[in-house]
Assembly symmetry: C2
Homo-oligomer: 278 residues x 2
């Protein structure tokens, strides 16, 4: 069996936005599905792991697209494991036309393995005598930057607080990884998406949240980022002003949860959104 797996999907009309392109959140879901198919076919998927009380947990994800699939367009997602360490594996993705001739974009992800009872990290090489190493493909290129650590300064401004609901919750009983991204993208109005497109996002997961938790979204635009120059976020970042939500560039978003009886916010994830003018 090939170290890489390719899975075909179609940009369903109800998964496309008003510009007739696939929603980034749905593309993220398709990538996670491809990861699941690939690992299951090679006997290190969630299905097998659940029998030994272990599971994969997505730690970080970045996707950079030159072009999003159009409504009804078919596309393939190729995925492979770039590397494996004791506590993390790196898995890459390529999104392309079904025949593979035209690249639409790439993705990178980092995964940890945990024990489903203790929630503690597990030694990946201890599973099946480290058989995952047979599938490592360090040679296939993934020509996008490594995943950003997404540093956010103290100047980030609270822009929205939402309740989490039944439809936010995944099969594990936690808020779905991709829903954080969707809620972050929902901070921007339709007019913003008419003028700009999301070229890349980086998201780092810090803690789990559950239905009933309230989520607060803090946003900053790193200095010089609104012109799209790609400056990294830092403590010198400016709080996002109202006007900022009309400009392309980088937006850093910190998401905090407030548990039902909790006062202080606890960080659950950080994401970096990079929009370019259409």
């Amino acid at each position: 069996m090939d170290k890489r797996g390719t899975y075909e999907f179609r940009a369903e009309p109800f998964h496309c936005d008003f510009t007739h392109r696939l929603f980034m959140g749905h593309l993220g879901n398709y990538m996670l599905n491809a990861a699941d198919y690939h690992s299951s076919e090679r006997h290190f998927g969630m299905g097998y792991l659940s029998t030994i009380h272990k599971t994969w947990v997505l730690s970080r994800l970045a996707v950079e697209m030159e072009e999003m699939p159009r409504e009804n367009e078919r596309f393939g997602i190729t995925t492979w494991v770039e590397s494996a360490m004791k506590y993390f594996t790196c898995r890459n993705f390529r999104v392309a036309s079904p025949d593979g001739s035209r690249t639409l974009g790439y993705g990178r992800s980092v995964w940890a393995m945990i024990d489903t009872r203790s929630r503690h990290p597990q030694d990946i090489f201890a599973v099946n005598d480290g058989s995952i190493t047979e599938w490592i493909d360090a040679g296939t290129p993934c020509p996008i930057d490594k995943i950003s650590r997404v540093k956010i300064g103290d100047g980030a401004r609270l822009v929205r607080t939402i309740d989490t609901c039944y439809s936010d919750v995944d099969v594990n009983g936690h808020i779905n990884s991709v829903k954080y991204l969707e809620h972050a993208l929902d901070l921007f109005p339709l007019a913003f998406y008419a003028a700009n497109r999301l070229k890349r996002f980086d998201i780092a997961y810090v803690a789990e949240s559950h239905q009933g938790d309230r989520l607060s979204f803090y946003v900053e635009t790193p200095e010089g980022a609104a012109d799209g120059s790609g400056v990294e976020a830092g403590d010198g970042g400016n709080a996002a002003g109202e006007e900022a939500f009309s400009r392309p560039g980088i937006y850093n978003v910190r998401i905090e949860k407030h548990e039902e009886n909790g006062a202080k916010g606890i960080e659950v994830c950080r994401c970096r959104l990079f929009f370019v003018k259409k």
Copy 2:
């Protein structure tokens, strides 16, 4: 070509809820996809209609399920046109195991055709000399009740108001039909879904809404409905109390929009949710 079309889908893990069953909203999306495939293959789909400035608009939808597809389960959706009148067509759905041997549930829908410029209803038989009539299949059974008109009394109680965002908007620039259902189902907490399941919903679309509109959700539990006796909603319905959200039975939900500068709510849709104890 057969009057009926069958399309296979899979309950993707990220489209399943914490009980490991497909979300009803995703099943609704799959049905609308099946309707699009079926009509497109028979040359009366949205793609062809857009070339003559017309489109299909979903007017009503009901789905009744004996069982929801499980995580990773494959299933087929068979769809056919039961009848066509000047301004409306009725399209039915059957959800079954891929080989068709085991029925999971059924759906009914009513569609209007409109002119995309004037938004006025169009004579369906005037398109292609009424060729849609060639595809009418009045013989295939759809053994669930007709779609309810979903009457809601004045006693319905406001239980939530939400903002509509980028991810709520479909390719036509309107709030996605299925998102109304998802937001209505989100009125119930996770604990409710641990004890009960949605057996049937009926939804009637009254007006379109757009990103930026605020949506208010009014709920009533018809008298006697909380015991699951299936009593129809009427003006005698009781406002839903806090305690009601823990019991199975019928919940009627009226959704009103408040446009950005608007004061009074305008009804956009009504739905009837029927939950049974697991």
